[in-house]
């Protein structure tokens, strides 16, 4: 960078002057120096030209997705207070983790003084539904899924119920993944939006999930990211968001996601 991040003291003073933020004494003193110093006036004029035109940002307001933002607000309701908070499984898990961490810390004698209130508060909701899914799946082990008995009828019933809630058709065939056992479908809730998690157990990759949320977002093609040590493939069609997540190498993940995309 050719411009230092630390500005000259005179630039700071001139900027405060230009922004009308100097107190009267400092302003008068600087004005006297400006009157006597042409190079200082030139510097002031250059800095004055560096104030961005706020009107340039107006078009971003026009660009905002007004309808979707209004819908987000309409759907936004604060989480219930702690007594009811455990109604949400993701939050219950987060709360449990905080307690476990605090307990472990205390057990090792680390917490010699009370944890500040900020630490005891459950961290806010995950920033996005994919983050929430990744955090949830991170709690899974092979055993989590292995102990679920295989029951094709129950699997079909679970899928149908989740599909009905999301208004899409879900069957064991439409969500089958090669080399993996379909273990369970759960209907969850992410900020008031229905979210289905279809869990599989892979002999090589361990727990894998295919998740679907009715979030009304615009269509987006298949894309990939890494979250919490998982590879994730995700896309959106017709206001429904999809993601496949697991410790699966990307080429295979892409194949699985493309296959699901064509069937669901």
């Amino acid at each position: 960078m050719s411009t230092p991040e630390t500005p000259l003291p005179i630039d700071v003073e001139l900027t405060g002057y230009l922004d009308g933020e100097l107190d009267a004494d400092a302003r008068h003193a600087l004005e006297a120096r400006l009157a006597a110093d042409a190079s200082l006036r030139a510097r002031r004029d250059r800095l004055a030209a560096g104030r961005p035109d706020a009107a340039a940002f107006d078009r971003l307001l026009d660009d905002a997705p007004h309808d979707r933002l209004a819908a987000l607000l309409a759907a936004a309701e604060p989480r219930p207070q702690p007594a009811r908070r455990t109604a949400n499984p993701l939050l219950a898990i987060a709360a449990a983790l905080v307690l476990i961490v605090a307990g472990v810390a205390a057990g090792f004698g680390i917490a010699r003084f009370a944890l500040p209130p900020e630490v005891q508060v459950v961290h806010g909701p995950p920033a996005s539904w994919r983050e929430a899914v990744a955090e949830y799946l991170a709690l899974y082990t092979d055993e989590t899924l292995a102990i679920i008995p295989d029951d094709p009828d129950l699997r079909r019933t679970e899928l149908a119920a989740a599909g009905e809630r999301l208004a899409i058709a879900l069957t064991p065939d439409s969500v089958a993944l090669p080399g993996m056992t379909l273990k369970r479908t759960e209907l969850l809730d992410f900020r008031g939006l229905p979210l289905a998690q279809i869990a599989y157990l892979s002999p090589e990759a361990g727990p894998v999930a295919f998740c679907i949320i009715a979030n009304g977002k615009p269509d987006a093609p298949l894309a990939f990211e890494e979250r919490d040590g998982f590879n994730v493939g995700f896309w959106t069609v017709g206001g429904i968001g999809y993601m496949v997540i697991g410790k699966i190498p990307q080429p295979r993940l892409e194949m699985l996601a493309t296959s699901l995309e064509s069937r669901v």
Partner: protein, 173 residues
């Protein structure tokens, strides 16, 4: 009959959604993330509606919540995913094709501001676009007023001489 704090904040939020989204866009460089930030801000604001002091400026309070949400969650999540902060390539969201139709100089201003380091960018936005006083910006960003002044001075020096900022470049798509 007075409204409950929850209802008052919810109604006030409706007037500021586009501005909150714009701040989220300036911070994150991503339209999707801007939407997520607005959603999280709405939730937090409603959860904490009782903490809002009637008679003070709701927009300042909401911007502070959005900024903290950005710092605490989204940026942390990005770091965890190994993406780091948005780089100059990805923040140039104001693409050239539309800019030519609309207003090239406005697009240049946006790109130049967007190419500033994050600390300078958010400060410039709050003070020069949103009209925050130095004190309001310092409170929202949780930094001393001197830091606000220093960031603005560095930003003005750069913006008055775009060639000195190697990250600024035109994009067309």
């Amino acid at each position: 009959m007075s409204k409950s704090p929850h209802d008052a904040v919810k109604q006030g939020l409706g007037d500021h959604l586009a501005r909150l989204w714009r701040y989220g866009l300036v911070l994150s460089g991503s339209r999707d993330m801007a939407e997520d930030l607005v959603q999280a801000t709405c939730l937090r604001a409603l959860e904490r509606a009782h903490q809002f002091t009637p008679g003070t400026r709701l927009d300042r309070w909401l911007m502070t919540i959005l900024h903290r949400t950005w710092l605490n969650e989204l940026r942390a999540a990005r770091y965890r995913r190994g993406e780091g902060l948005v780089d100059a390539e990805s923040v140039l969201v104001f693409d050239g094709a539309r800019a030519i139709e609309a207003n090239i100089s406005a697009a240049q201003v946006l790109n130049q501001v967007q190419a500033l380091p994050e600390a300078q960018r958010e400060t410039v936005f709050l003070v020069y676009v949103e009209g925050f006083t130095y004190r309001e910006a310092a409170e929202t960003l949780d930094v001393p007023i001197g830091t606000v002044m220093s960031r603005l001075a560095a930003a003005r020096a750069k913006l008055s001489n775009p060639e000195s900022n190697p990250q600024v470049r035109r994009v067309t798509s």
